[in-house]
């Protein structure tokens, strides 16, 4: 196997195989720390807020939300697109970077994939509860007429969304679980108590590391990566169709699919950085998630941020160039109308702020990266808000122009989804290896391992 000598190592600290297992299993095998309990409790409180907010809005109806006749989609769909977008980085790291054989994905893919699954769960909350009568939610499934509705309309992008997101969730979940199986087996074989042994044995499906199984396993992962790549692109493309196939000025643009996909990856990497900058510190994974990993992720943030910025400018240019006055007004209104602050927050957070990552020093400064990742999250939330609310609030009929303000119920639900997300994440950190143990071992350079010294000494002795 060829190993480039110049390339810096992705895993530092001269680890042996056993040590990698020890390090990564440490949080699972030891009782949770105070920081974990603190974080978990706080997240759980927010999660309760979600349950309360949803119960309140179902009990009293959607009148408790700030949406109105003109602005029918607002906070809820903003949050839906925001969370779906966050999920995309996980699939990008696990699938697209696998196809490109990027070794730096190995120590971040697991937590990014977990993030995808939890983010899609959070996203799902919004369209489902935006239906109002959630108990009729099954009407969006293709069920025969005697179930209460006629067949679903396959020409509707909203229906495509149902298919895209449920497929995306299912495939991501299975892909994630496939990756976990060998690592669950590692935890199983190290387990000390009967309880843990039983639990991990159940999930490990009898994995024994057989070479035959490994070979099939790698092919299956490659196939999954191959189909997840177009899948992840299709999901946000279809989400953008929700807007692009309508005739609302500001939405009716062909640039939407690539623009949304780039934005999704941008926001997703923002969230990955937010999580990992903290996780590597708290869980003492600095040897696995190194500054080089953060550096690589910052480059992706900068690239996708610039793509998104290009899309903003293109939209503006095309609005002018098209000569359609409604389109032109929609964009002028975005930048200078009553929601100008949202527009300029979006512009500065997404287009201008990531440009700081041209400087290598800033890409390698964890605290600064954490700050920037929050900026990216805020910027991308505002992007969706700008697209949805500012396009709707002044429609074709001047008499129905109106402002949109969220109510406390909507804010409560939105903050609650963060609770759901982090509760799941904390439970995941405690129960499952947050770094892929097997894949990390596979990228260790063979002649720099501690065992290699013994091998080389034996070879030298043999040669004499």
């Amino acid at each position: 196997m060829f190993e480039a000598p110049i390339r810096e190592r992705w895993i530092t600290g001269d680890k042996s195989y056993g040590q990698i297992s020890d390090d990564i299993c440490r949080p699972i095998e030891n009782p949770p720390t105070k920081a974990w309990w603190g974080g978990f409790t706080l997240s759980f409180i927010f999660f309760c807020a979600l349950v309360f907010g949803l119960t309140y809005s179902v009990w009293n109806g959607l009148g408790t939300w700030g949406i109105n006749k003109t602005v029918g989609w607002a906070w809820d769909i903003t949050n839906f697109v925001f969370w779906i977008g966050i999920g995309h980085a996980g699939t990008l790291i696990s699938a697209i970077l696998l196809l490109f054989r990027q070794k730096w994905r190995m120590s971040i893919n697991r937590s990014a994939e977990a993030m995808t699954i939890f983010a899609v769960m959070c996203a799902g909350v919004f369209p489902i509860f935006h239906m109002g009568r959630v108990w009729n939610g099954f009407w969006c499934l293709p069920l025969p007429n005697n179930f209460g509705s006629i067949w679903v309309n396959f020409s509707s992008p909203l229906l495509w969304d149902v298919f895209a997101i449920s497929t995306y969730f299912t495939v991501s979940l299975f892909f994630w679980y496939m990756g976990l199986i060998p690592d669950i087996a590692t935890v199983r074989d190290r387990a000390k108590t009967k309880m843990t042994k039983f639990f991990y044995n159940l999930l490990s499906m009898g994995w024994n590391g057989s070479m035959r199984t490994w070979m099939r396993y790698e092919i299956v992962c490659l196939i999954l990566a191959g189909i997840s790549t177009p899948l992840v692109l299709s999901v946000h493309t279809i989400v953008s169709f929700d807007f692009a196939t309508s005739i609302v000025p500001g939405w009716h643009t062909t640039i939407f699919p690539p623009y949304f996909v780039a934005g999704a990856i941008f926001s997703g990497f923002g969230m990955v950085l937010t999580l990992l900058v903290i996780a590597r510190k708290v869980m003492k994974y600095e040897d696995y998630i190194t500054i080089n990993h953060l550096d690589a992720m910052c480059k992706v943030v900068m690239l996708t941020g610039t793509i998104v910025g290009c899309a903003y400018i293109t939209e503006f240019f095309i609005a002018w160039y098209s000569g359609v006055e409604y389109e032109q007004y929609a964009f002028i209104n975005r930048a200078t109308g009553p929601y100008w602050w949202a527009y300029w927050t979006m512009m500065s957070c997404n287009l201008l702020a990531p440009q700081v990552f041209w400087f290598k020093k800033l890409r390698r400064h964890p605290n600064f990266i954490f700050f920037m990742s929050i900026i990216v999250n805020i910027g991308m939330w505002f992007e969706r808000f700008v697209i949805i609310v500012t396009s709707l609030h002044r429609d074709y009929l001047t008499s129905s122009w109106i402002m949109y303000y969220p109510t406390w119920v909507e804010v409560c639900i939105f903050l609650g989804t963060f609770g759901l997300f982090f509760t799941c994440y904390f439970v995941f950190c405690k129960l499952m290896p947050t770094i892929s143990i097997a894949e990390t071992k596979a990228i260790m350079p063979l002649d720099q391992l501690p065992i290699a010294k013994k091998r080389m000494a034996a070879e030298a002795a043999h040669a004499h």
Binding site: W160, W207, R212, I219
Partner: protein, 181 residues
């Protein structure tokens, strides 16, 4: 009849186990299987594992998913209950079938390929694996040779030791062991 007795060479180095497997193959010993904490590339060829046909299966599963979705959509909106939405008849509008066909293709490929993989590898929830060593999923690499079909046990042991095995073990499993071939 599955073999139940094995000679196991225990290694701690993926390079050495690959070399040992090659040496064994050259001296005419058939390796039953290797058990490793991660996928050691090149080892599969040395122990003569045939390439899997899961890729072909996945393609066929994908085709199935695509056809299912195409049939479902044309049945529902064309033959069973044609609709006219906004003056646009909903009869066999193929371009709008594309997204659902695509998603169905992906879903069927993913799920059916994974299920096939689990069934082929005899992986089910609750199976208790038969291990040569508890550390074979962490930092030991095991080369297992079926001891009933080979007579020259001491030669095999010698070869494994010479190639750097930490130790050589004789291990017997019950009749219903989970080591597949």
């Amino acid at each position: 009849m599955k073999p139940t007795k094995f000679i196991a060479g225990v290694f701690d180095d993926p390079v050495l186990i690959t070399r040992a497997a090659r040496k064994l193959r050259e001296s005419g010993v058939r390796v039953y299987d290797a058990y490793t904490p991660f996928s050691v590339h090149g080892l599969d060829k040395e122990i003569g594992i045939k390439h899997t046909r899961l890729g072909i299966a996945a393609f066929l599963f994908g085709c199935t998913g695509f056809c299912l979705a195409l049939w479902m959509q044309s049945y529902m909106s064309w033959s069973d209950w044609p609709m006219d939405v906004g003056g646009k008849p909903n009869t066999f509008v193929v371009p709008t079938y594309v997204p659902v066909c695509f998603e169905s293709t992906v879903l069927c490929t993913a799920l059916l390929t994974i299920f096939t993989f689990w069934i082929k590898s005899k992986m089910f929830h609750g199976v208790v694996p038969d291990l040569f060593d508890n550390r074979q999923t962490s930092d030991l690499f095991i080369l297992a040779i079926d001891s009933d079909s080979h007579k020259n046990h001491s030669a095999i042991e010698g070869l494994l030791k010479e190639q750097g095995a930490l130790e050589v073990r004789h291990k017997e499993f019950g009749k219903n062991h989970t080591l597949i071939q």
